[in-house]
Symmetry: C2
Subunit: 183 residues, 2 copies
DNA sequence: GTCTATATGGGGATAGAC
DNA sequence: GTCTATCCCCATATAGAC
């Protein structure tokens, strides 16, 4: 809410970057503090624990997932609804911090075991797959549905040397995802 | 080579399990030693460092990838070769320890940054995607190719409550992967 | 091949001054 | 809101006896 970027936000940004690049456990609070030009103790003013930093990063992700799931639950199940779920999910991922947070969690799956907020995201992701599926689905169909969602996460990490805008990547991912969700 | 399971092998097994379940950094050598009923120092007789345990786990994975890539390089590029690459990759993944090692690496991506053998696997995986592609591929096509390979990794983690044998999972994954590779 | 004992270092976290 | 100083714990790793 402050006029310029406050320290709390800068901590989140640096932490997210280091957690993603070097790993959650491998990143020490000292390191984060050094980059920001403050001391460890200063971090503890803004966040009570290292886990709290992670929790703060996940909050708007959880809210977005909850909203999408709630919307989906109100729709009739069917191909068109499935496609629209993917579109909304993709649109949501396009936000700047959003897919960065998902990437961070993907790359640190084990290290984040037991973090309560991370478990919530995992649970919501499972729920999202559930609303994308139907009772009689075969294993192959379930796999396709899961891969459709996953494709939307992967758009940024494939062909990294390719020149492509975010929009082009989302469009490509959505095309592949929609093809997978047809089955 | 010993008659019964030697300590070295048992260390590898326990380490792989804990690294996968709890995370690489979160798993201490003390913990591994305790489970095996030996001391930390005993581990250091078999492996010079913690990294060495990881390196030992990756070795046959690297060999398998090298062999597949070499085979692929000798074939004419085309749809049939691409399908056969997927089939061979899938068959290889079916081995007991194999996909466990890949899962371990997937779940600990960031923690394993800089481990030399792990970087080799990363490099070989990129190379595998390269032989699966062709010069003029669009972003969408590249994405589909990458997702095809990735699907073969994911077969075990989708619909975990579903009763399915390894063979059924591989078959389903291969079906999805082959569909993706057509494009 | 495994042990005890220890070196060495860094981690997260806290107290209390400014 | 940030600092200095410090606590406590556990990590990897090593030395040397058995």
């Amino acid at each position: 809410m402050g006029a310029q970027k406050d320290t709390r936000t800068r901590i989140q940004e640096v932490a997210l970057q280091l957690f993603t690049e070097k790993g959650y456990e491998a990143t020490s609070l000292r390191e984060i503090a050094e980059i920001l030009g403050v001391t460890k103790a200063a971090l503890y003013y803004h966040f009570r624990t290292k886990e709290d930093i992670v929790a703060s990063l996940t909050e708007d992700r959880i809210a977005a997932l909850d909203e999408l799931i709630a919307w989906a639950a109100r729709q009739p199940r069917g191909p068109e609804t499935r496609r629209e779920i993917l579109r909304r999910y993709a649109a949501d991922m396009t936000g700047p911090r959003h897919h960065a947070v998902m990437r961070f969690m993907e790359r640190n799956q084990t290290a984040l075991r037991g973090h309560s907020k991370v478990e919530v995201i995992r649970e919501r992701s499972t729920e999202l797959l559930r609303v994308l599926g139907e009772p009689g689905d075969t294993l192959t169909t379930s796999l396709k549905r899961a891969m459709a969602v996953f494709t939307l996460h992967m758009a940024w990490f494939v062909a990294p040397d390719t020149e492509a805008t975010d929009e082009e990547r989302v469009a490509a991912a959505l095309a592949v995802a929609e093809e997978l969700i047809e089955g």
